[in-house]
């Protein structure tokens, strides 16, 4: 019960070099091959928006997008991500118009309580809206099924995503 899987005790000569595009910026690092991407984001890059809730891919609080796909950063280790992988975190999404719309919708709908799941929730919402600009309520719930929220009962989160979809649709139509 005190045992922690030794994630990072690889000798320095086994460390690997990786160059990724993190939030659109090129980042080069030398890291132990089994270092979790979540720890790299949070500890090496200071991107603490992705949270650790369970460490086993159940809660979704660490959701980020890798090459546009939502993934749990706690399940991914450095060696699994090839060079040139594109990683988008909440910090990157916040700087985008879609991010601003989603965040505004979350705030207005009252979808945020303790907030710990919310960055992951917003990332999963964005991943959905990228591939489906007008999701049904059922599709929203399915897309968020991997993200656990203990505060809200999901009602207002689902509302927020619906609201954001409408606004993004309008923004796109107005362009």
């Amino acid at each position: 019960m005190n045992g922690e899987p030794a994630r990072e005790n690889a000798p320095a000569e086994d460390w690997i070099r990786r160059t990724w595009l993190v939030n659109g910026r090129e980042v080069s690092l030398r890291v132990p091959p089994l270092r979790r991407v979540l720890d790299i984001l949070r500890e090496e890059l200071g991107l603490t928006g992705a949270k650790e809730g369970c460490g086993e891919g159940e809660c979704g609080a660490c959701t980020v997008l890798v090459d546009d796909q939502p993934v749990c950063a706690c399940l991914l280790v450095a060696a699994q991500l090839p060079n040139r992988s594109r990683i988008l975190t909440i910090e990157g999404l916040s700087a985008m118009e879609e991010g601003r719309i989603l965040e505004e919708a979350y705030v207005e709908a009252g979808a945020v309580q303790c907030g710990f799941c919310i960055p992951g929730m917003v990332m999963a919402s964005y991943a959905l809206l990228r591939r489906n600009s007008a999701p049904t309520e059922r599709q929203i719930r399915e897309a968020l099924a991997g993200n656990i929220c203990r505060c809200t009962g999901y009602v207002k989160i689902v509302e927020a995503v619906g609201r954001a979809a409408e606004r993004m649709g309008r923004a796109a139509a107005g362009r």
């Binding site: 005190n2 809730g53 705030v107 009252g110 945020v112 303790c114 960055p119 999901y154």
Partner: protein, 768 residues
Amino acid sequence: MVTVTRRGYVGLPVERTDAIEKVQGKARYVGDVRRPNMWYGAIVRSPVSHGFVEGLERDPHFDWSGVVLVTPDDIPGSNVVESLVRDMPFLAAKEVRYRGEPVALVAAPTREAAHAAAAAVKPRIRRVPALTEPDEVVRVFKAGGELEYLWSQEIRKGDAEQGLREARIVVEREYRTGYAEQLYIEPQGMIAVPQEDGGVLVEGSMQCPYYVQPELCALLNLPPEKVRVRQTVVGGGFGGKEEFPSLLAGYCALLALKSGRAVKIVFDREEDILFTTKRHPSWVRHRTGLTREGRITGWRVDFLLIGGAYATLSPVVLARGIIHAAIGYRCDDVVVQGRVVRTNMPPSGAFRGFGAPQAFWALESHVDELAEACGMRPDEFRLRNIYRGGDTTTTGQRVPEQYGGPAVLRKALELSRFGARYAHCSRGRTMSDRWYGIGLAYFCHGAGFTGDGEARIRARAAVELARGPEGGPAVVIRASSTEMGQGAQTVLRQIVADALAVPIDRVRYPLPDTALVPDSGPTVASRTTMVVGAVLYDAAVAMKKALQRFVSRNFFDGEGCVLEEGTFSSETGRSLDFTRAALDYLRTTGVQQRFEAVFSLPPGTQWDQERFRGDAYPDYSWACYVAEVEVERATLAIGPIKITAVLDIGRVVNPVLAEGQVQGGLVQGIGYALMEKVGVAEGLFEAARMQTYIVPGALDIPEIRVTFVECPYPYSATGAKGLGELPLNGAAPAVGNALKHAVGRRIHDLPVTPEKLFRAIERKGDAP
């Protein structure tokens, strides 16, 4: 027709203070905080459930350089958690009473190194017999065997035995609930930073800074001015961060003071589930006498909670449990006998509802069975038996003429069209693919501390006039109430802005820091909006009066004035902006101006702690849930499809936040009803991960309709009553009653699962 225009912010869906930084990932939770030269702590735990410590062996092959070890001998102060009953050590020195109980601590430069060091300390413990399984406790209790009780309390009104003798029908049933985990998504975490004066600063995830601070003073043998406790943004608590953080803060502080460095402990999910508090498992037996017309003549309730190794908060969980055990229905002759059993498991503790969810699972399931026993519908039976004005509760508290109960019950029945739909219940008899059922639960929650709790704690809170970050005047709330997602920061700002009549963006509410805020009591017991809100309202009114006097004297030549909507207006029509007046006031007086107030109970409040008689709570919030469910006939898969929720929480300060509290609490209650389950195996909780402890996800949620009926608290300016816990209390029995009417079988122990329904159908009877 009179049009009432409502001024101010109370009643409006003001946007959350903390939402934007959270949604952008900028909010700093304890896991996001790093201190210079920070080390990481880890806990050495007992490998056995019960035994005596004979020594701690350090693995000689492990490199101990760069590791700090803390044993009970290193504790400078008293190795006991003060709490209510002084029975729990910070570190077990002699006897260990549960598997995983902390016996020593280590700190090292990395998390991995700290955990490796903890694993290299081997406690040598002489094992003795242990009691761990809730089923075993209940078996021994029912057989009249010997058990150790951490606490016992009885409530007696009239003569229950006589009342039962007079009954024409007597119904006796037993109800069970198991362990449940709060499962805040942010795990427990704390950082301690040694200070130059020999003191310590502790920051982290907690509900109650003033629980932590005095514990640290006693543990570290430090005066209060050398122990500062600060809340970081809290990622959910639900009671789980009420008492437990005091332990974790103590561990970090001991390591920090010994190592001379900042020390952080953030649990991973497994350690968090395995070794922090759970909801008390319960066994409740109701024995109730009825007349043929369905009136209650006598009532006996035996209420058993499983408390774990130490008492911690169990006495007050039990108090709330027994007060709510037979509440809401008229009966002159009642006895409720409550006990908390000691076992060799981690201490059970606070979890939203605090004894009431166990009480209402039993009570509201039982009331349905009473209705059935006298051939009445569940709604008719309740309408006939609920309190009327002037009745008394089991503790003898008088029910006011106007209270929320009847209104929420009638409204929920009407909105859900209960009567019409009840006739369509399948009762396990139809050959359709899906069975339909509807059920209700009628329940309440006493707002604030139980009994003399509020009188003893005398909650204090203050507002200060200061310069804001942008140079303008700011009204700063100084209270120890924590924001943990429930919206305290927002609603308390609304209340203060209204009391002062200033724009809400002038009101700030920084996270509590014991160096700066008075003790407003803990953030628990559905008391923040009602109790601390009332205190802050009074404090803000005091500030308003002082400002009005100042403006009157310095700007209006002594002419009286009032502050309304951010402007001072004199009797003759002169006016002055709040900003200008407040800045001038600050310049003139030269210092921050602080206005403090104290909570007072309603006039005439009486409580006899010995006999458990009197006014158990300042007021009660009431609610009724109507649940509709479908059960797939082939698989018995359970699908809640709709919940109609009607609640009286007094004045609703923020309708969007309040609705969010109800939706969230209700969904936690659905989890409690249908899926959340922690077994015990070899002294450990079995479901130690989120893969095995299943909580509702976005696909598990029924349609939820929330309606508020406002029956305001008459003794405060805001009129708000308690909200936080109420929404969880009634979910499980409403769902359980609906399932009974869908399947035709009643399950008496939570959670209700398809497996239990299957066994009940096979057995052709209700399940125990």
